[in-house]
Amino acid sequence: MLALVATVAAGIGPVSIEAATVAKVLVNAVRVPVGVELYSGGGSALQLPAVGLRWAPLTDFEVEKLHATIVLSVRLPRIALGATVGFALGAAGVVMQGFFRNPMADPSIIGVSSGAAVGAVLFIVAPFAVPFGLGLRGAAFLGALATAAVVYLIATEGGRTPVATLLLAGVAIQTFLGAVTSYLLLHSGESMRRVVYWLMGHLDASRMTEAWITGLLAVGLVGLMYLYAEDLNAMLLGEEEARAVGIEVERTKRILLAASSVVTGAAVAVAGVIGFVGLIVPHAMRLIVGPDHRVLLPVSALAGASFLVAADTLARSGAAELPVGIVTAALGAPFFLYLLRRREVSEL
């Protein structure tokens, strides 16, 4: 499903490319090691010869060079990043909804996105105020993690973190950080456009390195979340029940909270605030595959990836390119209302 969406999406744009051509380009890009090479170490006689693998494409389909460049250098990084961000948000949304046993929970419920927004806006408006020489993404990521840590510490007392307190602390901190963002926006002057654009969520100007870093992080942490899928199932029945069947509830909560905050922070740092993916996708998938997290978590992550790639394709294929956050919210909100009317959402 994800592969199909990605392939079709790579063909859509100002230069329309057939899906078959895209597939050929992608298959051509797959390189496999075909042999071992020895490089003689130049200069010193003591230097050992270096061993390297010789890589070669597996296939060599006939494609136009221009098309290959467009697919591999322009569209693929963007699609890869979109898929990664959607993957992260889809998974984190499932974990947060299960964790809070609350259908309104989304990956940003403990203020991760608001913290990232403050970090990013601060960098744009007043770069000198951002420590450690961090870039825009670094500042946003740091803001996200710092916020998650603060909310967690506020809600924790004596080693226990009641989810209701966590939820309310998250809401309060989000409101406060929203005020900070608004204040910074007011004083952003010429960079206002850039700030607003960032806040809306975007996937343009994506680079493959970003997709790789975020992707590896997301796959690793979602893998970690998956190990706790059964714990999440038991926690749906209540924390006391989960403890009674042998789950170390507080430890599980800490691990899940940390994992989902980090993936969400990373996603928001590279793509801005993309709303509704982490809220809608888990609900829609729960209707289809049921509440068992062993199935729901991976399905929702992959569906999040597909949805975001599709939404971004829509966002960039209009007359003027839109930030993808607008598209996800514009599509997601009506769909959410539809689910709400069917009363399915209340049955978490």
Partner: protein, 258 residues
């Protein structure tokens, strides 16, 4: 099997239990009786390691439950809660399988080899195997109660703690549930409101009042007007049930006499 000594428990800053000592023998079925709010649930939860005592301790099979991990505790004691909200779409079997959690290890290919058999046995025992694949959300109150009991049986722990196992059941299911529990030959502690049922099924009863154990013993010794009247603040008549031959307690209306 379960040894409660000098136990005090606070909840929300209020002392619920103070200086409770109670010993439950191996294989014994003990009922906790007493008025609402007296601390029966709190005592059960502390025995099950769900609440931490402020003083004293609970030993199960010689282990202090407050110092055990959740997994270790869950292998020693299985708790059946008073009620659980099942408003999501898990199947009966999936809920019962949750009872195997303490035996699973992450990242193992075959994490729990005898889990499947234990789950099937628990489903059979509680007579819910017939609807094992139905959604728990579609079940009646009595059926849900049996699902929770099945989950506790799948947990395969030597001690079973039940909080009001018969409260929401009709008379048929009350008797069937307690028949099943009594036939397990496990160590069972159950909070039971119905004194008649407690007298009929339990080996001993513990009468609780104001966060303390007032009296422990066989039902015939504890269920006397002298002990029950001050605790429940009502006049009672104690007689022998003509059918079961066990002690029967009848609360009297104000001004009513025998």
């Amino acid at each position: 099997m379960i040894d409660v000594s000098e136990l005090s428990v606070e909840r929300g800053g209020v002392e619920i239990l103070s200086d409770v000592s109670l010993a439950v023998e191996d294989g014994e079925f003990l009922a906790l009786v007493g008025p609402n709010g007296v601390g029966k649930s709190t005592l059960l939860k502390t025995m099950g390691g769900l609440l931490r005592p402020t003083a004293g301790r609970v030993l199960v099979d010689g282990h202090d439950v407050a110092s055990l991990s959740a997994r270790q505790t869950a292998r020693l004691v299985a708790s059946v809660p008073q009620e659980t909200s099942f408003d999501f779409d898990f199947s009966v079997r999936e809920i019962v399988e949750m009872g195997r959690t303490p035996y699973r290890k992450r990242l193992r290919r075959n994490p729990d080899p005898d889990g499947g058999d234990r789950v099937e046995a628990a489903l059979e025992r509680t007579e819910i195997a017939g609807f094992a694949d139905r959604s728990v959300a579609s079940l009646s109150g009595g059926e849900k109660q049996r699902v929770l009991l099945a989950r506790a049986l799948a947990q395969d722990a030597p001690a079973l703690l039940l909080d009001e196992p018969t409260a929401s059941l009709d008379i048929n299911h009350q008797v069937r549930t307690l028949d099943l529990v009594a036939s397990l030959n496990e160590t069972v502690v159950a909070a039971i409101h119905d004194l008649e049922l407690a007298a009929r099924y339990c080996d001993r009863v513990a009468l609780l009042s104001d966060g303390a154990v007032r009296s422990v013993g066989p039902p015939g010794e504890v269920f006397t007007p002298e002990l029950l009247e001050p605790v429940f603040d009502v006049d009672v008549a104690v007689s022998e049930n003509a059918v079961t031959g066990t002690t029967s307690v009848t609360a009297l209306s104000r001004g009513e006499t025998i």
